[in-house]
Assembly symmetry: C2
Homo-oligomer: 163 residues x 2
Amino acid sequence: MSARALPYRPHNHDACVSQALSDARAICQQQSARLTPTRERVLELVWQSHKPLGAYDVLAKLTAEGHNAAPPTVYRALDFLQQHGLVHRIASLNAFIGCAHVGEHHTGMFLICRVCGNVLELTDASVSTAIRNAAGAEVFRAEAVTLEVAGVCPGCQTEPNHE
Amino acid sequence: MSARALPYRPHNHDACVSQALSDARAICQQQSARLTPTRERVLELVWQSHKPLGAYDVLAKLTAEGHNAAPPTVYRALDFLQQHGLVHRIASLNAFIGCAHVGEHHTGMFLICRVCGNVLELTDASVSTAIRNAAGAEVFRAEAVTLEVAGVCPGCQTEPNHE
DNA sequence: TGTGCAACTGTTATAATGTTGCACTTTTTT
DNA sequence: AAAAAAGTGCAACATTATAACAGTTGCACA
Ligand SMILES: [Zn+2]
Ligand SMILES: [Zn+2]
Ligand SMILES: [Zn+2]
Ligand SMILES: [Zn+2]
């Protein structure tokens, strides 16, 4: 898995998308999971940018392109994608974003820019270790970590209205 | 601020509640904020246990005791309490819980037991530091951290149906 | 090649969570 | 006392998510 583009830096985002789709096909093949057309399309829509997309935003895009979709269509696809580690749900935003580390066993940490809306997913061993230790000190068996940091990204610290 | 009881250990929970209320009165006085009867009652309801309470659960309790409340009543009270650091919102549960560290400047870390539903709020310097460093390495200006760990508490690791 | 099962999809309805806007009351300030 | 600010009640509405059930498709296997 090669280095990823930074969300808030100009980059060839089509490369992000096609990489994500090809990763997804590989993962699903390997897990004998069916990446059906609807699921693949939802994944592609979620990857349209590095900004999290709400389930109803996905729904609107599907509807706009003639797909006869209802909320369960979208939520089911998103559930599937989450279960196979292809997208993450950002709890503080009720929105979904493509996973930038598919395949790697990871605990995502999300840096959410409140100005431009872009989200960077990180993996940081010292953060994971510290969390694991803190939970362990309370004899708590940790299973899932939600770690979301809201703030301002490098681009927006200098250019206030970065899009 | 004295040591807190562990949520999942039997304890005199009335002490938790009265401590929370007296802390809240002190904080509000100090900040010239008005802890009105509705706000105080909502805080007390949220503190009824160490399990997070949904806004509509609070609403139902208010209604049950004859208070003529609507959703905005509850959300406004909860907003006020959050702004003054008296309750936290648990994003992964859409629910609210009393803050166990009022007054201390802290970044809460929540250990959420998926069996009994109790939540323990921790503060851990090495976790905060690791998160701050990881964000700093990306030149990201962190403003708010959401850190919620789902898993199984010590009590529920041995007694499966702990209530 | 069919045939049965499991997974997937479409559709309708509904639940759960959260917000807006406005009129009115209470408290604080001047 | 008058004006301003903060708080409350209320109705309507917006957003997010799920339940239930019928129909369809893909796939293993006789
Ligand atoms: Zn990109
Ligand atoms: Zn930004
Ligand atoms: Zn207690
Ligand atoms: Zn427990």
